[in-house]
């Protein structure tokens, strides 16, 4: 999906802070405001930390990996028993290592998958590429501007920097 009806202002970091307040005051929901920068803006109050499900999904991934490890080790030991001289065929001390490693592998893979699916891949084409951002500027704006607010948003943004329109 290409960016539609998007209005952005290219401005400095302090201006980005001000324009954020102006947009919110104009009735734009925080969730619709997009701030794009070349590094995390920890020193500027344009970030709004949201709760993320990533840690819980990673725990689920780890549990899945651990279960797969348990099944792989125990079921195959039982299915293809080797001569152990009367000792147990399924050995939990050693299977624990396989289970542990696959638990960790599950956690690692789920972290990557959750990150990619929630942060980059889904927004591949919906956000603009602005080379000026890599030069230190901040792109702030509204991804989908309601028609009734279009003029007002453009006016607000133009007070803080060069307005860019993406269709």
């Amino acid at each position: 999906m290409k960016p539609q009806n998007a209005l952005y202002a290219l401005c400095s970091r302090p201006q980005a802070e001000k324009s954020l307040v102006a947009l919110v005051s104009a009735g734009i929901a925080m969730d619709n405001i997009v701030v794009i920068s070349s590094e995390p803006l920890d020193h500027y109050q344009v970030r709004r930390r949201k709760k993320t499900l990533m840690p819980w999904l990673v725990v689920c991934g780890a549990a899945l990996g651990g279960t797969a490890g348990f099944l792989l080790a125990t079921l195959t030991q039982a299915s293809y028993p080797i001569a152990t001289g009367g000792m147990s065929v399924v050995t939990f001390w050693t299977d624990g290592i396989i289970i542990y490693e696959l638990t960790m592998l599950g956690a690692i893979l789920s972290t990557i998958l959750v990150f990619l699916s929630t942060s980059t891949l889904l927004e591949w084409r919906s956000l603009p590429v602005e080379p000026e951002v890599s030069a230190g500027k901040v792109l702030i704006g509204v991804a989908s501007v309601p028609q009734r607010l279009r003029e007002r948003v453009a006016e607000l943004l133009s007070a803080f920097g060069e307005v860019k329109q993406y269709h």
């Binding site: 400095s12 970091r13 302090p14 802070e17 001000k18 307040v21 919110v24 005051s25 929901a29 925080m30 969730d31 701030v35 794009i36 920068s37 070349s38 590094e39 995390p40 803006l41 920890d42 109050q45 344009v46 970030r47 709004r48 930390r49 949201k50 993320t52 990533m54 840690p55 990673v58 195959t76 030991q77 293809y80 080797i82 050995t91 050693t94 299977d95 290592i97 396989i98 490693e101 960790m104 592998l105 956690a107 690692i108 893979l109 972290t111 990557i112 959750v114 990150f115 929630t118 942060s119 980059t120 891949l121 927004e123 591949w124 956000l127 590429v129 951002v133 890599s134 230190g136 500027k137």
Partner: protein, 455 residues
């Protein structure tokens, strides 16, 4: 650091965007060396494992020494980087990527050695657990199979841990390049734009990865140590081996990191980023690990000597008075006697001082791995099986070339991605260090006012 964000970006992207004749020369030289090593391996594959010096009873020689050594070196990166990230140490910013790269490449080189050691490398897939018509199923009791799982998990984890913070830098390079480079970085950055949501997700993902990768790193070298400790061979069958190996791995890993940083600092002119403070801090870490290593060596040998079991003592005296004594004392000098004063005395803990200490430690740790493997195998419990080991030119060539391969991989990587994370350094700058026009904080609104605004 007095540099502005723009200057940081320019300095760190310069080695990636500009290629000098020196780079081409170094890559060509290292490439020839790697080719020589590959030829030696192919010679062995064609003529059989008999061209190597390994034979009954010493079946594990240089190749497994290299395996243990390189897996140990790989502990530098991810472990150090993860610990420093979690503790939010600000001095980590210039060194984390360098450390993470070492991990990935050292792990790749280390993981190659069991295959080189096979003699018939085309049968390496037999190690993979899958049901086959041969009726063979890998034995889950075997530490060699644990290696398969541990090393692959660590490799996937390390590559991911390295790749995640590279994504924003690739987006920077996408905007600064053209042609095939732009296409390459557009692909590598996976559609990264730099929204605040993306930054938050990236930081969360890296935080989780840092937590996960530490126990994985510890488990990997513990499992490598169990390749030995699970075997009833004199001086191997010991409960101390897992922590001893992990400590040794971190020790050699930090040394490798310092060596890589000094070389990068010099060749890529990163003096203002890889500062004396980074080396001083790493030097202190190295000192602690040197003391810990000495403690483990002493504890291991004291226990063996006190037990006075004949087979164990035969191996112990082999390394103290026998044919391996020179190597033992060289190892002790390299790992403790030389580095200790260089790292303990503040005046000597300079960049050259930590570099010298690190080079000796790398040499010392390779010898240590050799001394763990060869003397024990040459003098097992039954004296009629005793034998000796002498490496051939094939093993020596392949071993030497691994260092060239590491250097080559590192240099090529530094040509594709900045070896110092640009965005992390920029994020660490105070607001006053912004370029003109962007550093103005006048009129900044109170955070409460913004966060409390109606949505």
């Amino acid at each position: 650091m007095a540099k502005t964000a723009e200057e940081i970006q320019r300095d760190l992207l310069r080695p990636v965007l500009k290629t000098s004749w020196r780079f081409v020369l170094v890559v060509a030289g290292l490439g020839i060396c790697v080719l020589a090593g590959f030829s030696a391996w192919m010679y062995q594959a064609t003529n059989g494992i008999g061209v190597a010096g390994i034979n009954r009873p010493v079946f594990w020689g240089f190749y497994i020494t290299n395996f243990v050594f390189w897996i140990g070196i790989s502990h530098a990166g991810t472990l150090i980087s993860a610990i420093l990230r979690l503790s939010n140490a600000t001095w980590r910013r210039p060194i984390t990527r360098c450390a993470e790269v070492i991990t990935v490449f050292a792990l790749m080189i280390g993981a190659m050695f069991p295959i080189v050691h096979l003699g018939r490398p085309w049968l390496a897939f037999w190690l993979v657990p899958y049901p086959s018509e041969r009726g063979l199923w890998p034995n889950y009791r075997s530490p060699l199979l644990w290696d398969f799982f541990a090393i692959n998990t660590y490799l996937i984890g390390s590559v991911s841990f390295l790749f995640l913070p590279i994504i924003p830098d690739c987006a920077l390079l996408r905007d600064r390049s053209s042609g095939w480079r732009r296409r390459l970085y557009s692909g590598l950055c996976l559609g990264w734009r730099g929204t605040q949501k993306q930054w938050q997700q990236l930081e969360t993902a890296m935080h989780i990865m840092a937590i996960v990768i530490i126990p994985v790193a510890v488990s990997v070298h513990s499992i490598v140590s169990w390749d030995f400790a699970m075997t009833p061979v004199p001086m191997w069958h010991s409960t101390i081996f897992a922590p001893y190996f992990v400590a040794g791995a971190i020790f050699s890993g930090i040394a490798a990191l310092i060596v890589a940083m000094v070389l990068l600092r010099s060749f890529l002119h990163l003096e203002e980023y890889l500062t004396a403070q980074c080396f001083d801090n790493l030097g202190k870490l190295l000192l602690v690990m040197s003391l810990l290593w000495f403690y483990f060596v002493f504890a291991e040998r004291l226990t063996t000597w006190y037990g006075n079991a004949k087979p164990e003592m035969a191996v112990l005296w082999l390394t103290q008075r026998g044919p391996f004594r020179q190597l033992f004392w060289v190892m002790l000098c390299c790992n403790f006697v030389i580095p200790f004063p260089l790292l303990a005395i503040k005046k000597l803990r300079t960049i050259p001082g930590t570099f010298i200490a690190s080079v000796t430690i790398i040499a010392g740790m390779w010898i240590e791995r050799y001394l763990i493997i060869v003397p024990s195998l040459s003098h097992k419990f039954l004296p009629y099986t005793w034998g000796s080991y002498r490496p051939t030119w094939v093993e020596i060539t392949i071993t030497s070339v691994t260092f060239c391969a590491m250097a080559l991989l590192f240099i090529v990587f530094s040509k594709i991605v900045p070896v110092v994370s640009v965005w992390e350094l920029k994020a660490g700058l105070p607001p006053g260090s912004r370029p003109a026009g962007a550093s103005d904080r006048d009129g900044q609104l109170e955070p409460v006012q913004i966060l409390g605004a109606p949505s």
